[in-house]
Symmetry: C2
Subunit: 245 residues, 2 copies
DNA sequence: CAAAGATGTGTAATTTTTACACAAAAAAGA
DNA sequence: TCTTTTTTGTGTAAAAATTACACATCTTTG
């Protein structure tokens, strides 16, 4: 894409054979790594697996895979997710690429990090693989590769996104109580929130549907259950203008 | 990174030779493309160059280059920037990767988009290359590759970032008037803002240093000049908690 | 010296955010 | 069945932030 000699007349150095050009490019192995978040016992967790590299024996790594020839990055990430959790229709978004040449002991590998959010209870499958497990985000360390850095980045990304978009609902069941919702926000943001103000805030958004059901099997007074009104949200997404830093 | 057979005992399929593993990965040409933004005549502009591919003859493309062996993506983007603008210390940040297998006519190429902001007047160099020029963002179209999509994405990214971080100052001279600052925000966000409220907002942030100088050579009453107090900003960066969508 | 054009400033109304306490419901255990 | 415990559910007042809005001043230009 760099033009080497700008002083020649343009048509004299137009490249005719794009294929040949690309064939001459250096090539790099590219992978995707997924930070798959779930929420359980009022804690944010991430799905990890024991590394299959002797070099990282005993260390956890994120779920990832190579990107196939002619595969979209999004596709590759989705493939990893589906193979591992058996789930469709899962929230998934690209966070960013990591390219430290020393990040993989086997040589240069560029990886693109994805963040995924799912309801842990819908993920019955394949967890019997006992090297695969949900790990609390707060006690993670000693991961393989640069995966700790990737998790940290994805976590920051999530903290930001959850405040601006209704992502959190992906981590809960379809029906949830306001308490569960608040616990989710408190756990992810690492703060405690005033219950009345929290409820008032969501009430004023008018995006929760009261389905006239109550929590079941809770060891205390049951709360009302709600669904998130995705349809209304999609219609009313407002653009926000406000300078604040 | 995928473990093939979870039912064998773990140590039996630990991979000893990480190098061999990586050598077996499919490899992809990777490039970086920079959306380099500048501000001039109250318009947001982006630096583009005529494509050197016959396939895209006459179309503009972003500045980009291949990523070298063992080069960080950030490095590669910075290299492109420096080669083309001659500038150091320029704001540069990764936006995201684009991986459509059909995005390059020469075959599969993954590119990582970067967004850069600079003061157009500091960029005297190399612009004499007459295929290189600043193009108003609002009238861009028919770009080579998926570069229009990349510019759009970078522009949205910028619109968001400028509201939450003091990025805009990278597009202005070190000394600027409040009017210039407001013009910048209006141009990038595509809205018009109330002058008194805009000034009140920045006054309340207390991050502008009044340097007791006035604009020179303006065809009207000159305004006061300010600098942005980066030092104070760095110290006081507040974490923002607020749910809003 | 008049006209044109941009700078610079304050206040009142509205909206949003924050802090804070108590009664009612259900479950658990005596 | 009654008492205790725990959690739900709700309103108001103060403070802070945002919005809408108009006029006098300064500088250049002709």
């Amino acid at each position: 894409m760099i033009k080497k000699n700008p002083y020649e007349k343009p048509h004299e150095h137009l490249i005719k054979d794009a294929k040949k050009l690309v064939q001459a490019y250096p090539k790099v192995p590219v992978t995707v790594d997924c930070a798959i978040f779930g929420f359980e016992e009022n804690k944010l967790k991430v799905l990890v697996i024991k590394s299959d590299l002797e070099y990282y024996q005993g260390h956890y790594s994120l779920l990832g895979d190579i990107v196939k020839d002619n595969e979209e990055l999004d596709q590759a990430a989705y493939r990893v997710l589906k193979e591992r959790t058996g789930m469709n229709d899962v929230f998934l978004d690209q966070v960013r690429a990591f390219s430290n040449p020393a990040r993989h002991p086997g040589g240069r590998v560029i990886t693109v990090a994805y963040c995924s959010l799912l309801n842990i209870n819908h993920h019955e499958l394949k967890i019997h693989d006992n090297d695969l497990n949900w790990h609390s985000i707060s006690t993670l360390k000693d991961m393989a590769f640069d995966h700790k850095e990737i998790v940290d980045e994805c976590y920051r990304w999530l903290q930001k996104m959850i405040q601006e978009h209704p992502l959190g609902f992906n981590l809960l069941a379809e029906k949830f109580s306001l308490r569960e919702l608040q616990n989710l926000y408190e756990a992810i943001l690492g703060v405690s929130l005033d219950r009345r103000n929290f409820r008032k805030k969501f009430a004023s958004m008018d995006l929760l549907i009261d389905i006239n059901e109550m929590e079941q099997d809770v060891p205390h007074r049951p709360g009302k259950l709600y669904k998130f009104n995705f349809e209304k949200y999609e219609k009313s997404k407002r653009k926000w203008i406000g300078i604040d830093f």
